[in-house]
């Protein structure tokens, strides 16, 4: 059984690499996380034998995982909605200055260039 699990883990690793090479738009990140979570579940369940272990240890693990989620989601509740009241700006001053400079640069470049979007820093 350990061998089967190991095989699945290898397979999932390949799968995640392959899927990340494809452009799935918004789905790339969730898919990668889904695969990683599956792999983690396999390791926890079989290599660490939590599936056959005392229930209290599963509880311990679940509580640990739960609080990671709490930490993450409550922090995002701030950072993802920063500036929802007008008393705080969304972006930093650095970003605003950079955006302004980019805008200025495009205007200086003449009317034709003004419509072109700022090029993304790098491509896949």
């Amino acid at each position: 059984m350990l061998v089967t699990v190991f095989g699945s883990l290898i397979f999932l690793t390949i799968l995640t690499v392959v899927s990340s090479r494809l452009d799935l738009g918004a789905f790339n990140v969730p898919l990668a996380m889904l695969i990683a979570t599956t792999k983690a579940a396999l390791v926890v369940g079989f290599f660490m034998a939590l599936k056959y272990d005392n229930r209290v240890n599963s509880l311990v693990f679940a509580v640990g995982a739960l609080f990671v989620i709490v930490f993450l989601s409550f922090t995002l509740l701030d950072t993802a909605f920063r500036g929802d009241l007008p008393n705080t700006t969304k972006g930093t001053i650095m970003e605003m200055d950079a955006a302004e400079a980019a805008l200025q640069a495009r205007q200086d470049a003449g009317p034709g260039a003004a419509v072109a979007p700022v090029p993304p820093p790098a491509t896949h």
Partner: protein, 225 residues
Amino acid sequence: MAQPAAGQPAHLKHYFVSSDQQFDAAKMGMWLFLITEILLFSGMFVAYTVYRVWHPEVFEAASDLLDWKLGGINTLVLLGSSFTVAYGIQRIQRGDRKGLIINLLLTLLCAAIFMGIKYVEYSGKFEAGIFPGGNFAPVGDYHGHDMANYADILFLPQFFSIYFVMTGIHGFHVLVGMGVFTWLVIRSFKGDFSPEYYTPIELTGLYWHLVDIIWIFLFPLLYLI
């Protein structure tokens, strides 16, 4: 100090009633320790997510700078080491001491390969001037990317700070694991373990699998997406 009463196994501490109780306690203790490790890493995952949500395009661009092939090999190596640990435990449960020792040595080998590859990755980055945070000063050519294009991207240094801190702490855990495995190999040679008593291996195994799990998440987050 009270000695274990006659008929009790030598590893049983006097304040425990039975071997089972002692083993269960040790294992629960280890699981608790593991969740503290998870929460320790969670800080880094939160930092990663926050900056990624703010600047997704920067993080995508940055992850292109990491070599997914090296990361992928390291993933496989680490998974392999997890397997050998689990398999080694199965061996000792069946009384096969030699099998245990072989598997532990294989684990150590995998860990060494992992660290070797990490060394290659780190030194390559340092040469290209990729340092954490404020020291970020990219120069020259790195794996076919002209680093000059990356010099002024806002928040790119943050990605590498997170990269170095995460993989750094992870690598530190691998090193600690290697130390403990070496000690276990020595003890196995001495014949300290038997199907009745292999708690230290079981616990170190749990630790090692956790280190593997962290990497399972780090790999896609840093190298792929």
